[in-house]
């Protein structure tokens, strides 16, 4: 079986068609072997060297992160008055950004947990990328409520810790639920990510040339040796964690939505919020995965593993969740104008569409409802440049959605004497742009430090991973020929 060796001639030959005999995109380019998978993915970290664009991008990311550091330092000294938050708009960009970042994280868990349980094989290659995105997005999200407290050094008061004041958190408040939901989500996302990484870290350990690098990977690989007993428990663990993360991810954004829905503010007090928020979260998350994966695939030459199949599937998920979000946009005015019979709710809906913030609302409809409709066309789903643009537009749209929900609902209070407006200050902008920079910095460090695609999992989707000559499986040659 010469096919098991890396055959440079095969890999360098003009690319064979990336579709199977039914015209469907393949999950992995034909001709790959276990060794070529290891080589191609681990070389991005170990062999390729650091490309020049990486330093440029890191510089930009870190520059923004420095802006974040500056803005937060000023905040610690002066208080949150430096933001544009006011009465009645007590929640503004900070909570908008928090919800936006948390939502982005949801795609990672959806891909790694829910699609694993549904046995969607295409999820494998993009799972690590999106799980990492989840962790970094939740880190960015966490900064906002912590600093919004104004006294981040006592943020541990959020947790139920015995203290000399005898005070405990109010367990009937959704804000306390949120602390539990987000911290559980972050912890388990990190655990799931790290557990998924262990076998690949051992591969990196075994391939690294320098002894220092070997020791670093070896330490984190914890002495993984691929024992069958270990694999057996390992697979069970992955399945169980996926099963646990699936309701968790649904609960997190539901709880986030209850921060709003439990209050009586017009535009917040609706039962549609939990499913609407979860769909929106998955929608924005897939948009962010596309925004990250499309350039990474090109820059690190991973087209063999992140094929058009993955990209098209993600576009389809985006279209589906976009439609759910659109459905919610239709029903919100229905509840407000017709069903509630409440004059404040009616006013809110009209104010949203025709009030001072109307341009934001209509831009959001354009971004979130009109734009994804282009994804009905296969040609557009297969056009990388257009998809990249659509993904960014959707990200902007989802940010606007949260801003409209939060600021527009708050700026017209029940009494017209309490009406106000929100305008961001430079510190709002620096903080938000700074989290984008922090996110970019962390993602750049990630792609240089660990394999971006789970190698061991990808190997199981090769035909060779199955028993050759088994009556129900095609042979390797047949698979390649098809």
């Amino acid at each position: 079986m010469s096919n098991y060796e890396t055959d440079a001639a095969v890999l360098d030959a003009p690319s064979p068609p990336m579709v199977n005999r039914f015209g469907e995109w393949l999950i992995i380019a034909p001709g790959h072997t276990f060794d070529s998978i290891t080589e191609k993915i681990s070389n991005v970290v170990l062999q390729m060297g650091t490309p020049r664009w990486w330093f440029g991008a890191l510089l930009i990311g870190m520059a923004f992160a420095v802006g974040l550091f500056f803005a937060l330092t000023v905040l610690v000294f002066k208080g949150i008055g430096i933001w544009g938050n006011n009465e009645p708009v007590g929640w503004a960009w900070d909570i908008t950004n928090f919800v936006w970042w948390i939502g982005i994280g949801h795609a990672g868990t959806l891909i790694s947990a829910i699609l694993l349980l549904l046995k969607q094989e295409w999820r494998t290659t993009i799972s690590r990328f999106s799980e990492t995105m989840t962790i970094f997005a939740v880190m960015c999200a966490g900064l906002f409520p912590i600093f919004h407290t104004g006294r981040p050094w006592v943020a541990y008061w959020l947790f139920p810790l015995p203290n000399t004041m005898g005070v405990w958190p109010q367990f009937k408040s959704p804000l306390v639920w949120d602390v539990f939901a987000v911290s559980t989500y972050f912890t388990l996302s990190v655990v799931f990510w790290y557990i998924g990484l262990i076998p690949d870290l051992s591969t990196m350990r075994d391939r690294a040339k320098s002894s220092v690098v070997k020791k670093i990977y070896g330490t984190f690989a914890m002495g993984w040796r691929g024992s069958t007993r270990h694999w057996s428990r390992y697979e069970t663990t992955c399945l169980l964690l996926a099963g646990l993360c699936t309701p968790l991810v649904v609960s997190v954004h539901s709880v986030v939505s209850m921060d709003f829905a439990v209050g009586i503010v017009p535009g917040w007090h609706t039962t549609i919020f939990p499913p609407y928020f979860v769909a929106g979260a998955v929608y924005s998350g897939f948009a962010m995965v596309l925004t990250l994966v499309l350039p990474a695939r090109k820059l690190f030459h991973l087209e063999d593993f992140i094929t058009m199949r993955h990209i098209e599937s993600m576009a389809k998920v985006m279209l589906a969740t976009g439609l759910i979000v659109g459905y919610a946009y239709v029903f919100e005015p229905f509840f407000g104008l017709v069903y509630s019979g409440n004059r404040y709710e009616k006013f809110l809906i009209l104010n949203r569409a025709f009030g001072p913030y109307a341009p934001f609302y209509w831009t959001l409809i354009l971004c979130n409802v009109i734009t994804p409709q282009f994804l009905w066309w296969r040609k557009i789903r297969n056009n990388i440049v257009l998809l990249f643009i659509i993904s960014i537009v959707v990200n902007i749209g989802m940010w606007l959605e949260r801003f409209v929900i939060i600021a527009v609902s708050l700026h017209r209070d029940f009494l017209s004497s309490s009406w106000g407006a929100f305008r961001p200050t430079i510190f709002d902008i620096l903080t938000f742009a700074g989290t984008l920079g922090l996110f970019l910095t962390l993602m750049l460090l990630f792609v240089r430090a660990v394999p971006t695609i789970p190698m061991f999992e990808l190997k199981t989707s090769l035909p060779q991973a199955h028993r050759v000559g088994h009556p129900e499986e095609g042979t390797f040659e047949e698979e390649v020929a098809s």
Binding site: W177, S227, T460
Partner: protein, 183 residues
């Protein structure tokens, strides 16, 4: 550690090029009566774990997860109830102190958190990880076990262990390399 001292030789390791060679060899070894063996593969192969005799009921990870989850369930609910009714009761418009539906989100998150943590930690503990040193790492070429080669080791602890017989068995089943593993 006593085991290693008692058996200065850890076992005999065979290297295979394909997963099907490994599966065939494992079947043969099990049929010959060997029981203390382990395979080392770059990715999970379900059939191998069955053939070396590691059955589903040997796997305690689900049980550990369940126990962890139950602890979280009870702990989370108790925490919320005690805080809201005994440690810091707040009378807000005469609403009940123990309003159990309001405690469900926290109870749920605690259940998931402890179940997930005990699942991951339980897996590592049951696997004996972290374990930086293991005799099988002495085998030349074992670094390919995380890449593209498949290994099978019959350990010296096996009551039927006989070095020459094991080596002979491995050579007869298409092994690429057969090596003695020093303990």
């Amino acid at each position: 550690m006593n085991e290693v001292k008692k058996y200065p030789i850890y076992g005999v390791m065979a290297e295979f090029e394909t997963s099907s060679d490994l599966i065939t060899a494992t079947h043969q070894a099990f049929d010959k009566g060997y029981r203390v063996m382990d395979a080392y593969t770059p990715f999970p192969i379900e059939e191998v774990s069955e053939t070396i005799g590691f059955h589903r009921h040997h796997n305690k990870v689900p049980l550990i997860t369940l126990i962890g989850g139950l602890c979280g369930l009870v702990g989370g609910y108790t925490l919320a109830t005690f805080a809201a009714s005994i440690w810091f009761p707040l009378n807000i418009a005469g609403r009940p102190f123990v309003a159990w539906p309001m405690f469900i989100p926290v109870t749920f998150e605690c259940t998931i958190l402890l179940a997930g943590l005990s699942c991951a930690i339980g897996m590592l503990v049951m696997n004996g990880l972290p374990q930086p040193y293991h005799p099988v790492f002495n085998v030349p070429g074992f670094n390919l076990a995380t890449n593209n080669r498949f290994f099978l080791c019959i350990e010296a602890r096996d009551p039927m262990y006989d070095e020459d017989a094991v080596m002979g068995l491995f050579r007869s089943v298409n092994a690429r390399e057969v090596t003695r593993v020093d303990g």
